[in-house]
């Protein structure tokens, strides 16, 4: 049973930011201790509340704010997603399938149909870690404790790259696709607005900020925007799970290529499930940029994919992730 809390319907984004600002003034040292939290779809929040990982005193419902569930597109300005756009809507939108294919695929491969109906894209980017120590009764490092239990413990699902004091992976699928399309978050606080690239938004937790992202106690995401991809841009999202559906990614890849005739003008390869943040496979991107389609199909994709994984540091139970990551990168590139 969840601890008791107040529930307030916000009628505007500004009101929601004001309520966050007032309620979280005391700036708790752990993000888990924020007394006021937003609720969107509730699919992550209620699970961490039921497990007593967070126990807010007040929930501010933003589903009552008008127009936050809009999808708009204009060639000049690109795609505008309200934070309440559901994963189901992302999955089915024709324009997104057409121009931002990897994003529609990432939404489609997330969670289950019921969860996608409820889950919002804003909430998706703010999910709490799925590390089982974090979700269980362990006061691990990310929760403010001294030790990361996963490092020497059960680490089958944990990071192989960019390992810091916490080796969890970010659970979001759409995050990788948003980064591949250079998406920007529009963030509102009680007194200021700021824009942040999705790629910068996710952070490797530090002792000063034990969190997976940069959102402050009093801020909300009001929109996500993606520039219009240049002509001849193709993308794909591939994801491996323990089973075919309704699982978090073991490893995933969002790959996007913009072609200039037969040449790769730009490549974005963003991996999920391998690091505490979405991981840009820079080495592989560099390896293939400027090269031709026939190069890609005669060994280059394979070489680039393997180079991308050469810095991996597998732990006791997750050595499978490096070859899996290489295989997914290769498969993704050959599909473009």
């Amino acid at each position: 049973m969840m601890k008791p809390f107040d529930h307030v319907d916000a009628n505007s984004a500004a009101r929601a930011a004001a309520l966050l600002g007032e309620g979280n003034q005391a700036a708790p040292s752990r993000p888990e201790d924020r007394p006021v939290r937003l609720i969107a779809g509730g699919t992550d929040l209620l699970t961490v509340m039921k497990d007593d990982i967070v126990s807010p005193q007040t929930l501010v419902n933003i589903k009552t704010v008008p127009d936050l569930d809009r999808i708009q597109f204009d060639v000049a300005t690109g795609l505008h997603l309200g934070p309440l756009v559901s994963l189901t809507d992302l999955e089915h939108d024709t324009l997104i399938n057409d121009r931002y294919t990897a994003l529609a695929q990432a939404a489609h491969l997330s969670a289950s149909p019921q969860l996608r109906n409820m889950a919002t894209i804003g909430g998706n980017l703010l999910q709490q870690s799925r590390c089982w120590y974090y979700r269980g009764p362990f006061h691990c490092w990310l929760k403010g404790g001294d030790e990361c239990y996963a490092r020497e413990g059960e680490n089958k699902y944990h990071a192989i790259l960019d390992q810091g004091q916490c080796i969890t992976v970010n659970p979001s699928d759409p995050a990788q696709a948003l980064i591949a399309f250079d998406a920007t978050l529009h963030i509102l606080g009680p007194s200021a607005q700021r824009d942040l690239k999705v790629e910068q938004f996710f952070i490797n937790p530090t002792p000063q900020r034990r969190a997976l992202n940069q959102l402050d106690d009093d801020e909300l995401i009001t929109a996500i925007t993606l520039p219009t991809p240049p002509p001849d841009t193709h993308s794909v999202y591939l994801k491996m799970m323990d089973r075919q559906t309704w699982g978090f990614a073991l490893v995933s890849v969002a790959a996007r290529i913009t072609w200039d005739g037969d040449r790769i003008a730009r490549a974005d390869i963003i991996m999920g499930g391998v690091a505490p943040t979405p991981y840009r496979a820079t080495i592989a991107e560099q390896e293939i940029t400027g090269r031709s389609r026939s190069d890609l199909h005669s060994g280059l994709a394979d070489r680039a994919a393997h180079k991308a994984m050469r810095d991996a540091h597998p732990l006791e139970h997750n050595a499978y992730k490096a070859p899996l990551g290489a295989a997914l990168i290769k498969r993704a590139l050959l599909a473009l």
Partner: protein, 174 residues
């Protein structure tokens, strides 16, 4: 707590439409829709198994989409329309007759699509939402439609057959 936040640990009265009838419940904000249905309205068809969005036994339809009622707050359903398994069978107009099962329920019996039956109400509600959006699904679309509903007994092949059979029954019924 800052004083200008509205106080509301206390219960509140909300009205929602459940199976085409208005119901009023008096609930705390922390009450889930699942608990409100089961405890306050006595509608125990939706089952509580994981309570964490991992099994699908609590599936109901809100508006026109299947959702997990265990991850939905009852207070956020005020003014909404909810369908549960209890609303599927309809009264037969002939006097003295029993309830007439919905085509999906009939198809489940015909295809023997359950063993223990615990997942069945959730499966049926997921299939109902699927068929409302897609009256003529392929086998793969059916599999996707019930991919958010676990069956511990492994009755999947018959559940898929039942969904396809129900689609056929509903199409021929016009």
């Amino acid at each position: 707590m800052p004083s200008n936040l509205p106080a509301g640990h206390s219960r509140r009265t909300i009205t929602m439409t459940v199976n085409d009838e208005q119901h009023t419940v008096y609930v705390e904000p922390r009450r889930t829709l699942l608990d409100a249905l089961r405890e306050d309205l006595g509608l125990t068809g939706a089952k509580k198994v994981c309570d964490l969005g991992q099994c699908g036994a609590c599936t109901v339809i809100k508006g026109n989409r299947a959702i997990y009622s265990c991850l939905t707050l009852a207070v956020e359903c005020a003014g909404q329309s909810i369908q549960t398994i209890e609303g599927l069978a309809q009264a037969d107009p002939a006097p003295g007759s029993q309830l007439r099962l919905h085509a999906i329920q009939q198809a489940f019996i015909e295809c023997d699509a359950y063993q223990c039956g615990y997942c069945t109400p959730g499966q049926i509600m997921a299939i109902k939402a699927l068929l409302e959006h897609n009256p003529n699904p392929t086998l793969d679309e059916v599999k996707m439609g019930v991919s958010g509903n676990l069956c511990r007994c492994g009755a999947y092949p018959n559940i898929f057959r039942a969904a396809l059979r129900a689609a056929e029954l509903l199409r021929t019924a016009g």
